[in-house]
Point group: C2
Chain length 317, copies 2
C-alpha cells in the first residue's frame, strides 16, 4: 500500500499480462473511459486485457467498447481506475477487494487499497492520468482510445465547465481532437440529447423544488412513482443533480433520489467554499469538493431533514 | 471592400487612433467579448478607443467592461466585430453604415461592408480571431483581456460542446487559463446560473412543445404574456433556443419568440447535414450551418406554419 509514480506503474504494467480493469459502481463516463482507454492500450502492446464493468454499460456508452473482441483468460493482474476506496467496488468487492495490484485515481480523498497506487487530485478527470500513463507505456493514442479519454474529460467537467478544469485538461482535449476523436458527437450524446421521458421528469422534479436558508440551499427529489409515470430510465436521471445548484444565489444544491423503499441516494453540489464531500461524509459518503454523494435510509422527509441539517452546518462553518 | 489578412488589419490599426468598436444587435458574448478585448488592447497601445454596445450590456456581461474609464473623443476609425452584414448593425446602421473601416468576423456568410475585412469562418468564436489580432498588435494579453476572449469562446460554443470547436479553440482557452482568466466563474454565470423566472419560463415553454415530421422537427414558442407571468427578462430567454433540438431524434429545433404584436423572432438549431442558415434565409435571416435566426410577421400560427414549411423543405433536401 504505497504511493507510486505514474512511471513506476507504467513499468509494472509493461512487465505483467492478463489484466482485468475494474470500474467503480454506478459507472460513469470517467471510470468507463479510463478502463476502456487503458484496456485498448494494453492490447496494443500485445497483452490480454478486459474491462469488468461494475454494473451496466448503458446505450450511450456502447461506443467505448466498439470493435473490441471478447477475451477470456485467467486474470493475473487487477487494475482499478477512478476508484477512491474499496467500498466503491460495490459488488466487485467480494471477489477483488484484497487483490487489486494497481490503482490509478484522481480523488483527493482516495484511501489506498492496491499494491501500487497513483493519485493525482489535480486531474479534472481520471482519464487525464490515463492519457499520461498510455504515453508512458509507449502506445500511440488512436481514435478509439482518444474517444475513451475524451469521454472522461467531458463527463467529469460538465463539458469543460466546472472549476476542476485546468489548462492541461484543455490541451489534452486539443490533442485528442487532432487525433480525430469524435468530440462533437460525444458531447451531443452526453450533454445535448434528452429523451422525452427526461424532459418529463425534469418538469416533475422542478415541481418538488424547495429553497432553504435564505435561498442558499435548494432541494429537489425524485420518487420511484415519478420514474414510472414519466417512463424515465437510469440514463434519464443522470445530471438531474446539477439542477438545484443552478438557481441564482444557491450555493448548495441537493438531489434526493428514491432508489428503494426507505432508501435514498443523495447528490450534493456546491460552489465557493462549501464542501460537498464534507456534507456527504456525515452519512458514510464522499466525493469531491464541489460534488459528493451518499445514501440515507428512512422516509423521504427524514432523509431530507438529515441532509438539510448537514448542509446547514456546512453553510454556517 | 476587399478581403485582407489579419496582419494587414493589425498594421492598419497600429497606424490609426480614436476608434469606436461596434457590436451586432442583440449583442451576445462573442461580439461583446471581441469588442472589449480589442478595445482594451488598443488602449494598452496608448490609443483612445471605446465600445459602442448595440443594445444593453446586461448584468451578466458587466465584467467585460470592468475598470475601463469612459473615453470621449471624436472618432476617426470605425471597427466592426462579429458582424456579418450591415443589417446586423441594427440601429447603428444609420450612423455607421457606410463608414466602417475594419471588420473582423467569423461568419461564413459574411457580406463585406467595410474598407478592410478579415473573415475566418473556421474560428468557432470571433474572439479566436481577436486573440490572434491582439498578438499581431504586440499587446500582452492580461487577465481582463483573457476574460473577454474566453467569454466569446465559451458562449459561441456552448462551453466547448458544439461541432464548431477545434483543437485551436481548446488551445487558446488553455492559454487564457494560464494567464489567469476566470473561466470557472464565467462558465458558472453563463451556463450554470438560472433565475427562478428562468426555471418558470422553461417549464412554460416545454408545455408548448410540438413534434413534426416523424419527430425530426421540434417547435417551442414563447409569448409576451408568458414572459410577463413568469417575470422572465431578456437574459432569462437566452438559450431557450437550445431546448427543442436536444430532444432525442430531433434534427431541426425551432424556437419562436413573440417580440411584439404579430412580430416573431425565430431561432433554428440543426444537426447533421441540415442547414439552419438556409432555412432562415427564406425570411431574410441567416447565421451558421447549425444555428440561424430570422424574423417573421403575422400571427403565431402563421409564423409557425411558415417556418415549419421551410424546415420541412430542408429536411427533404
Amino acid at each position: 500500500m504505497k504511493m507510486n509514480s505514474l512511471n513506476e506503474i507504467a513499468q509494472y504494467l509493461k512487465n505483467t499480462d492478463n489484466s482485468v480493469i475494474l470500474t467503480h459502481r454506478y459507472p460513469d463516463g470517467d471510470t468507463l473511459g479510463s478502463a476502456f482507454a487503458l484496456c485498448r492500450a494494453l492490447r496494443k502492446l500485445g497483452k490480454k486485457s478486459r474491462v469488468i464493468v461494475n454494473g451496466v454499460l448503458t446505450g450511450k456508452f456502447q461506443y467505448l467498447a466498439k470493435n473490441m473482441d471478447e477475451q477470456n483468460f485467467e486474470y493475473e493482474t487487477v487494475i482499478a481506475v477512478d476508484i477512491a476506496s474499496t467500498s466503491q467496488l460495490g459488488e466487485l468487492e467480494e471477489e477483488f477487494g484484497g487483490k487489486v495490484d494497481v490503482s490509478v485515481d484522481h480523488h483527493g480523498m482516495n484511501m489506498p487499497f492496491a499494491k501500487m497506487t497513483y493519485v493525482n487530485a489535480k486531474a479534472a478527470a481520471n482519464t487525464e492520468n490515463i492519457y499520461y500513463l498510455i504515453k508512458l507505456l509507449g502506445v500511440e493514442i488512436d481514435r478509439d482510445i482518444a474517444d475513451c479519454i475524451y469521454t472522461g474529460l467531458c463527463t467529469d467537467t460538465g463539458c469543460f465547465k466546472f472549476s476542476n478544469v485546468t489548462s492541461d485538461t484543455m490541451r489534452i482535449a486539443a490533442d485528442l481532437m487532432d487525433i480525430g476523436c469524435d468530440s462533437a458527437l460525444i458531447n451531443r450524446v452526453m450533454f445535448d440529447t434528452k429523451s422525452l421521458s427526461r424532459i418529463k421528469i425534469e418538469r416533475a422534479v422542478l415541481e418538488t423544488l424547495t429553497l432553504h436558508c435564505d435561498n442558499k440551499i435548494a432541494v429537489i427529489n425524485t420518487t420511484m412513482a415519478m420514474e414510472k409515470e414519466t417512463g424515465a430510465e437510469d440514463s434519464d436521471m443522470d445530471g438531474l443533480a446539477a439542477i438545484p445548484r443552478q438557481i441564482e444565489g444557491v450555493v448548495i444544491g441537493i438531489t434526493i433520489k428514491e432508489k428503494g423503499e426507505n432508501h435514498f441516494r443523495i447528490s450534493v453540489r456546491t460552489v465557493d467554499d462549501y464542501d460537498a464531500a464534507e456534507i456527504c461524509k456525515n452519512f458514510g459518503g464522499g466525493g469531491h469538493h464541489a460534488a459528493g454523494g451518499c445514501s440515507i435510509d428512512g422516509t423521504l422527509d427524514e432523509a431530507k431533514s438529515k441532509i438539510l441539517e448537514a448542509a446547514e452546518r456546512e453553510l454556517r462553518k
